[in-house]
C-alpha cells in the first residue's frame, strides 16, 4: 500500500533536477523569444515560500505566452531528497523546479548578476533576443510581477 502510494505520488509530482549555471545559461541562450523568469528561493526562506503562489499563478495565467518560470532552489544539495522534493510535492508546484548545482557562492552570485548581494528572494528576468537581464532583489506580489513583466515586453 505504501509502495503504491509512493508510486502514485512520484508519477504525478514533478521531479526536481539539479542544474548548473552553465546548463541554465545554455537554456536561456536557446530560448529564442522566450522570457525566462527565474525565481531564486529556498525551503528555509519564509518570504520566498510566501511568494511562490504568485509565481504559480503567473505561470498558469501566461502559460500560452513565450514566458517560462523557473523556480531555482538554493537549498543545499544534501536537502534535495528529504526537504526540497517533499516540499515541492506538498505545495503541488507546477512551475519547473530546479536545484542550483553550484557550491561557490563567490562565483555564482556574481555570475547570476553583479547587482545581486545574495539575499533571497531574488528574481532574474532574461530575454536573450531583447538582451534583457535584470535582477530584482525583492519580494513580489502577483500584481507587481505582472506589471514588471508587462513593462519589459
Amino acid at each position: 500500500m505504501v509502495v503504491l502510494q509512493t508510486l502514485l505520488l512520484s508519477a504525478h509530482a514533478q521531479q526536481v533536477r539539479l542544474a548548473t549555471l552553465d546548463q541554465l545559461e545554455q537554456r536561456f541562450a536557446a530560448g529564442r523569444d522566450t522570457t525566462y523568469i527565474i525565481n531564486f528561493w529556498a525551503t528555509w526562506c519564509g518570504p520566498c515560500v510566501q511568494e511562490l503562489p504568485h509565481f504559480e499563478r503567473f505561470g498558469k495565467t501566461l502559460q500560452h505566452t513565450p514566458v517560462k518560470v523557473l523556480l531555482v532552489s538554493l537549498d543545499a544539495r544534501s536537502k534535495l531528497k528529504n526537504e526540497v522534493m517533499p516540499f515541492v510535492q506538498k505545495a503541488k508546484l507546477k512551475n519547473e523546479v530546479l536545484l542550483l548545482n553550484e557550491t561557490d557562492q563567490q562565483q555564482y552570485i556574481d555570475r547570476i548578476s553583479p547587482q545581486w548581494s545574495g539575499s533571497i528572494p531574488a528574481t532574474l528576468f532574461i530575454n536573450k533576443r531583447k538582451q534583457l537581464r535584470r535582477l530584482e532583489e525583492k519580494e513580489f506580489t502577483y500584481d507587481q510581477l505582472l506589471a514588471l513583466y508587462n513593462s519589459l515586453k
Partner: protein, 200 residues
Amino acid sequence: MRNLLLLVLLLPGLCARAQEKGYAVGAVVTDFKLKNVDNNTVSLASYPDARGYIVIFGCNSCPVSRGYENRMVALQEKFSGKGFPVIMINPNDPEVASSESFADMQQHARKSSLNFPYLEDPGQVVTRRFGALRTPHVFVLQKTPKGIVVAYIGAIDNDPDNGNAQKINYVQNAVNSLLAGQQPEVTFTKAVGCGVKSKG
C-alpha cells in the same frame, strides 16, 4: 512660492538618500547608539580599548543567520580579548517581520546563549547607513587615525552548512590581518542570506 522652491531644492537630496547604498570598504563609520537586549545602550564608543569591531547584522528568524550563531559566539571568544568585539544588530523591522520584536530578540539571545550585544535598530536607521541587505551580513571595522573605517564587508566564511573542509574563514582572516598591522587580503564577499525585512 518660497516653500515650493525649497522643495525643489530638497528633492534631489531626498532621492539620493533613498538610493544610498551604504558603506563601502574604506568608508568612515558614524557611531550609533542602540538598545541592547539587556536594556543598556551600546555604541562603538562604549569600547574605548577596542582596536576595531565585528559588526554583524543578524536576526531571530533567518535560518542562515541562526546557523552561523555558534561561529559568531566563537568569533567573540577569540577576538574580543584581542580588541575586536562582536556586536550584532537586528536589521529587520518588527512591524514587517513577526518574531523580530525586541522581546523576541531578548528571548532569542538567551536561548542561543549569545555572548555579545544584540541591538535593535528602530526605523532601520543604522541598517540603512551601513547598507546591510541580508542576514548574516558582516562589517569588520578598524580604528584608525582618520576614524573608524570599514575594512571588510561580507560573509563570515564560505561554508554556510559548516561542513566544508576547504573552508575559508573570511572574517577571521580579515581580523587577523588587521591585528598583524596589514589590510585584509579579501575585503568583500557575497553570500546567500535572508533579505532584510523593512518598509519600502
